[in-house]
Symmetry: C2
Amino acid sequence: MPAPHPPADADPRVEALVHDLIGRVADKWTMLILEILEEKGELRFTELSRAIGTISQKMLTQTLRHMERDGLVIRTVHPVVPPKVEYRLTELGQSLGAAFCGVWIWAEQNLATVETARETFDGPLPSGG
Amino acid sequence: MPAPHPPADADPRVEALVHDLIGRVADKWTMLILEILEEKGELRFTELSRAIGTISQKMLTQTLRHMERDGLVIRTVHPVVPPKVEYRLTELGQSLGAAFCGVWIWAEQNLATVETARETFDGPLPSGG
DNA sequence: TCTCACGCTCTCCTTTTGGTGAGTACAAAT
DNA sequence: ATTTGTACTCACCAAAAGGAGAGCGTGAGA
């Protein structure tokens, strides 16, 4: 069983790798895709694109490739014309989604707190000369 | 108690704000600083810099300001010469650290899996040609 | 007097990120 | 023959991220 926060008792090498991995998966588009595929199950390229709404083809392709490389999604190519490609999460992808769940919940619960903090921080600027 | 994955039952507006907030806090340096302050308690600027090891002054200052604005850290300035400034987590910062804990654990536990997946993905490239 | 330490801030530079728009291959529909 | 739809790929460009190094203010110590 792991400690409350793992990096405290890990090797520095492992820590570095973990940081690297975190840096890769804690990406805006990755998290979005993770969430959507978790919800919808299996989607085609354009369906995914529409579900996200604002992503460019380039970023979608790129992020999906990275996720595939990291073993988070499975890409199924149906050899038909016009092309049909479907994406779904692997178990690893699902487990990452579950791990991020706590962060989603935190964000939802503390949205107002953060906004208040920002107003407090930004507000008292014009303390006129 | 919230649902397994919150965004499914949230307003689209809230969802957008959550995405925005996630995009801000799911930052490499933010996560690092969060973790270190959680471990060490209260640190000075240069102590923090040394603890992270690779961060530039610019990024450290910038990230700390963002975190302060978002109510994640408290910045205490001691009016002495040379200057002394200490940083520590707020309760909100600690709760975010706790939320990210699941992601750290995931990264630690699945490091090898991801590396294997990458090798499998990268390996079979030179298939003739 | 000169240097050092600290916590910045500023400028300059390179790298990375991300968007736009075009092109591709091919079969079915028009 | 032309258009349509799909899932890309590529070239080009703008913006942002991020690093290196200089400067600042000032009191203690050499």
